[in-house]
Subunit: 353 residues, 2 copies
Amino acid sequence: MMEAVTLAQVAREAGVSPSTVSRILNGTANVTPEKRARVESVITRLNYRPNPQAQALAGGRSLTIGVITPTLNSTFYGEALAGIEAALNDTPYHPIVISGQWRTEREQEALDLLLARRVDAVIMMGGILDDQILTHVARRVPLIAVGRDVRGLDHSCIVLDNTKAMQQVARHLLDLGHRQFAYISGAERQQDAMERRVAFLDYLGAHGVTVPPELIQVGRYTEEGGLEAAEAILNAGVPFTALVCANDQMALGARLALYRRGVNVPGDVSLTGFDDVFTSSLMTPPLTTVRQAIYDIGLTAAREALNLLDGQPVVRQVFEPELIIRESTAPPVRPRPEGRARQGVKTMSTPDG
Amino acid sequence: MMEAVTLAQVAREAGVSPSTVSRILNGTANVTPEKRARVESVITRLNYRPNPQAQALAGGRSLTIGVITPTLNSTFYGEALAGIEAALNDTPYHPIVISGQWRTEREQEALDLLLARRVDAVIMMGGILDDQILTHVARRVPLIAVGRDVRGLDHSCIVLDNTKAMQQVARHLLDLGHRQFAYISGAERQQDAMERRVAFLDYLGAHGVTVPPELIQVGRYTEEGGLEAAEAILNAGVPFTALVCANDQMALGARLALYRRGVNVPGDVSLTGFDDVFTSSLMTPPLTTVRQAIYDIGLTAAREALNLLDGQPVVRQVFEPELIIRESTAPPVRPRPEGRARQGVKTMSTPDG
DNA sequence: ACCCATTTTGAAAGCGCTTTCAATTCGACC
DNA sequence: GGTCGAATTGAAAGCGCTTTCAAAATGGGT
């Protein structure tokens, strides 16, 4: 709808060859200051902006970085995206985001699409695609994995120390005096879900506490999943004083389940999450959780991707978790006799005293 | 890192000219079935995928659609993005998203970037950029505005009937018996924030109810803003039984402020939001709000953009709001004597209060 | 069988840029 | 002042595709 200015026009206008303009644009070679000034003034006068498609074609680089996120409408991954965007902001690169929907075939499609688009690098956030496929892709294009370990791509992984994180949660609750726990896990095929569950149960075990199998439920990392899992746990009829969730979203769902049963948080049950999604600080009560510096993780991921592109060495990054204690956890106060609760309300009972 | 297959290779392999392959790819002209079959088999055998950059350069279209969203980590806009992604999914087009951060200069940058990237169309979600700038841009590239009216671009706007929506909220609360209201507004420079506030106050006024100015606060559409606004309202010392928020995010913040003051929802105060963000159904208590079919709005926006690209006529779309009554609203039971709220006491409301 | 109007096809010219490669200019030095 | 190496510049060949344009193949009619 409007003729765009081309490099050739700039060159003509400035009385130099296209090559020279290109060199100035890319800093590829020395140019007389006088000519440089001339060209630059023409560029601003004409408001010239190089055509990325042409640059991509001629330069063999698309100047785009593909990002695969599990979902677009999540506060958690959204913040990672914000970090990536910020990191790329003053580089010539640009993110191009596709969601994988937690589905293998969708992730595969996304990957194919990105490769077809000739992205210069790929950032894979989470995801359930096989390590094997990822290592294979990594041979074609620089790849950074976020929130998961990929066998054979150790350097390009950015992960959180899930084990340490869960140990902090467990210790916090143990310190408060809790001995009866329930646990809501993420989808088991996701690596970090496994890590978190194992870390939690092991730590408890090491301190002489075991969790009854009925009180361990899978919540698929979603709010609905957390809600259903919490209901299943409440229905089990086994007493517990602390409910630990493998992420904040499930904690939110669980919170509603507890609310509906009239279970007071943290009065009757202490509740914890994982991630420190922004809205967790606004829950009623604000949620005790483990902070993942997800924005920074996104930032780092993008920077690492750029390093990879530069041929610079990258190194596996492990982010340290930070326990954020808010108001959803408290000592297990009053022992509450079984069956005392209002009608229709399943009750928790007696902490060990 | 791996030699990509080119159209020329396919042509050679299939014993036809590049032009023919191109024609088959784009359906630009008839081709003998026999040749078509031959070429297609070669394409699948070689797993050929056209280079989008080359297509863009030669075809004059970049096959991308620029999307400007206020922020990347919002459930609300995230869902719109999901809708856009879905709509574009089986078209050759692809979204490229930039966030505007509610800042004029940032939005302008985003727009410039998209134009520099030669996007074929632009979808502008919300935003505070001048109508004038947008109409100007719209002359260069097809533009769809979401959630705002742009003077002179009526056809390309997709909006919600904010007035009707707020009237529904007001009526609902009025019907419940509320007469004393407080209101938390969005940032005033945003069009819909104005529309909602005016609609709400006017409707109330028409029914003989006025809202004291101290009970009208601006919350910038953010959670923190909502929290602060609610505190200001509580500090005003003027009694009210219903707190109406111009979006769900502010309602979430306000909820926390109420919780901290020991104000029971909906026992002491009824709370309403706007948007029906996914997590609103999981608040404690689940939030009464107005549903914007934001995913569908995203879907529609993308389709309209495609229509615009096809040169087809587009028409202004007005989405109908739907009041979603949940548990955060109830009749105003006990009149609350001034200043009764317990300092520092946190009470959860229970369902069957 | 022949002619002419259609279809189908291929050759070739770009799209806007980068990047050799070779030519030109410059400056330092003898 | 002339020579040589280094620095600067321009011509031209692509990058992988689309799209005229004209040539070749087809087929219907007589």
